[in-house]
């Protein structure tokens, strides 16, 4: 009974994670400048991959696998914002122009 419920939950989590990842990819393709694209990729992308890893943890019923999946999620949630911040900083130093509708630039 519990195993069956866990499989339904895992199916839901896998689908949700894939949808988040797809939305992130659409944002990377469609948004107007590098900074907004980074915003889509770093948030939705990390959540998408994290949800799929969580689904693996839910359906596995194995303590070691659950621990490793949680470790992977924590690592994703730590590393993705760091990478995005570093990339945005490097691009700003390079003089990458934000889109014309940007109104506030605190670094100017």
């Amino acid at each position: 009974m519990i195993a069956e419920l866990a499989r339904y939950l895992g199916a839901l989590l896998v689908l949700a994670g894939a949808l988040f990842s797809l939305i992130a990819a659409i944002g990377v393709l469609r948004l107007p400048d590098l900074y907004t694209r980074l915003h889509a990729a770093s948030k939705a992308g990390a959540i998408g991959a994290g949800l799929i890893l969580l689904a693996v943890a839910v359906v596995s019923f194995d303590g070691a696998v659950v621990l490793r999946a949680l470790l992977g999620i924590v690592f994703l949630l730590l590393s993705t914002p760091v990478a995005a911040h570093l990339l945005a900083r490097a691009a700003y130093r390079c003089g990458e122009a934000p889109t014309a509708t940007t109104t506030v630039d605190d670094l100017k």
Binding site: A11, S21, A41, L53, S60, S79, A83, L87, A90
Partner: protein
Amino acid sequence: MSGAAALQLAGQAALGLLLIGMVLAVIRLIRGPNLGDRILALDMIGVLAVGFIGGVAVLTGFTLYIDIAIALALVSFLATVALARYLMSRAARRSRESER
């Protein structure tokens, strides 16, 4: 529908969605327009690949794949950091050359 069947169906659908996402990221990789956008697209492809490996782990029940996903996330993060550092050093070199 039984739980296992629902899991199989959701796993297949998830792999399809991730494949579409990867194609969109590759289009951004090709179109650019700058180096920063290309680095971002590479990072996105890495995160999508982590999700893809997770989906395969759910589908096959072969949970050893999760180690591969963690290793890939690590390598993809390091690659993004290295490329961002390269972008920054290139900007510094350019500003030094323009001062001369």
